[in-house]
């Protein structure tokens, strides 16, 4: 009997009219195409970060996002809430982190143009947190193969009076091969340069690499990607697994 609400919800999702697009082939990489005008989609992210170091504990992070296709080239999204469950050694905690607005403008098409390009801007605000994230998204589709590249610049102000500051430059590259219009798999690589206090004194870099798989049917899709840390940076997760479930509304 307890399973009935969940079953009813699943049934309702399957019955929803298919009105949207915006399938994600990658877990940690954005793609250049934007949603069609009038499309509305809900995406739920779940990211598990596993760490063995004493500085960091396991974390389960969630994101609930609504995505709107505004024009053929412009897409806007709202992150209703980013929240996490952290399993620390002394105690466990559930905490709200932030909400955000994300805007993507598509400049060129990855099929007919030499390279598909999009620019991305995200502004995030939370409890003693302000984050500004800009991204250049490049993509090339070669038949059933999708090649994607993201260059991200991130500035964070946090803490009391937002006095703590840090920055990050991130490069991500990935490939996804479509076995069929419904199923694709691939690999993604994430290279991070961390600038605590906007300084590069510590020369902190992280490299993560791992596989991804994506399945879509009707008006929903599910993507899972796992990234293992190839470097040995203290305080960074050894393994990250992200699951994304999107449904057109």
């Amino acid at each position: 009997m307890r399973k009935s609400p969940l079953l009813a919800l699943s049934f309702l999702i399957l019955l929803l009219p298919s009105l949207s697009a915006g399938v994600r082939h990658f877990g940690f990489i954005y793609e250049a195409p934007t949603s069609p005008p009038g499309a509305v989609e809900m995406e739920n992210f779940m990211t598990w970060q596993y760490a063995t170091s004493a500085e960091r504990s396991d974390q389960l992070a969630f994101r609930h996002e609504f995505e709107f296709g505004v024009t053929d080239r412009f897409q806007a999204s709202i992150y209703l809430a980013d929240w996490s469950y952290q399993n620390e050694r002394r105690h466990s905690a559930l905490r709200y982190a932030d909400s955000a607005v994300e805007l993507i403008y598509n400049l060129s098409n990855p099929v007919v143009d030499p390279v598909g390009l999009s620019i991305y801007q995200e502004i995030k605000g939370g409890n003693r947190l302000l984050e500004w994230e800009s991204k250049l998204i490049a993509q090339k589709n070669l038949g059933p193969l999708i090649l994607a590249y993201n260059a991200t610049l991130e500035a964070v102000w946090e803490g009391e009076h937002l006095s703590g500051r840090s920055g990050e430059f991130q490069q991500a590259i990935g490939a996804s091969y479509e076995l069929s219009p419904r199923l694709s798999f691939g690999v993604e690589l994430l290279h991070e340069f961390l600038f605590p206090n906007w300084q590069d004194e510590k020369k902190l870099t992280n490299l993560f690499v791992g596989p991804n798989i994506s399945y879509r049917r009707g008006n929903w899709f599910a993507t899972i990607a796992a990234l293992a840390q190839a470097t040995d940076t203290e305080g960074e997760p050894d393994l990250q697994v992200r699951f994304i479930f999107g449904v057109g509304l």
Binding site: S20, A21, V23, P33, P36, N141, G143
Partner: protein
């Protein structure tokens, strides 16, 4: 004298000059190049959706389809379909299957009836050109 002697001597002198690491690297590059070549050949079969040609336009007029509609259809085909999956080549499905495929996908891709007509007109015109 053995005719292959000269070649063997050349190979021996070459191998004595090239370090083992470089030989391994070259072998790895050659081994990697073969699958890359195969994948490239496979991908070359797909290419970009064919541009609207004058022949397509002439054939389109006979079917009462404007050139502008074909251009619009190509643009929509290249833009809307890739939001969910990679673009299938126009030859991938039979001409009689395309109307149902476009119809099935139209709600997901937010296509209006005129968008649907334009995409289908372009696909069928491009298919006839093959």
């Amino acid at each position: 004298m053995d005719p292959s002697f000269g070649i063997r001597r050349k190979l021996i002198s070459l191998s004595s000059r090239v370090p083992a690491g470089a030989v391994c690297a070259r072998a790895l590059i050659c081994a990697g190049a073969a699958p890359c070549l195969l994948v490239s050949c496979e991908l070359a079969r797909y290419g970009t959706p064919p541009p609207v040609t004058s022949q397509m336009a002439v054939a389109g007029r006979e079917q009462h389809v404007e050139v502008a509609t074909l251009h619009h259809g190509r643009a929509l085909f290249a833009q809307r379909c890739i939001e969910c999956h990679t673009l299938p080549p126009v030859w991938h499905y039979r001409a009689e299957d395309w109307p149902e495929i476009v119809n099935d996908m139209s709600r997901r891709a937010s296509l209006s009836p005129s968008d649907r007509t334009a995409i289908l007109a372009y696909i069928l015109a491009a298919r006839r050109e093959l």
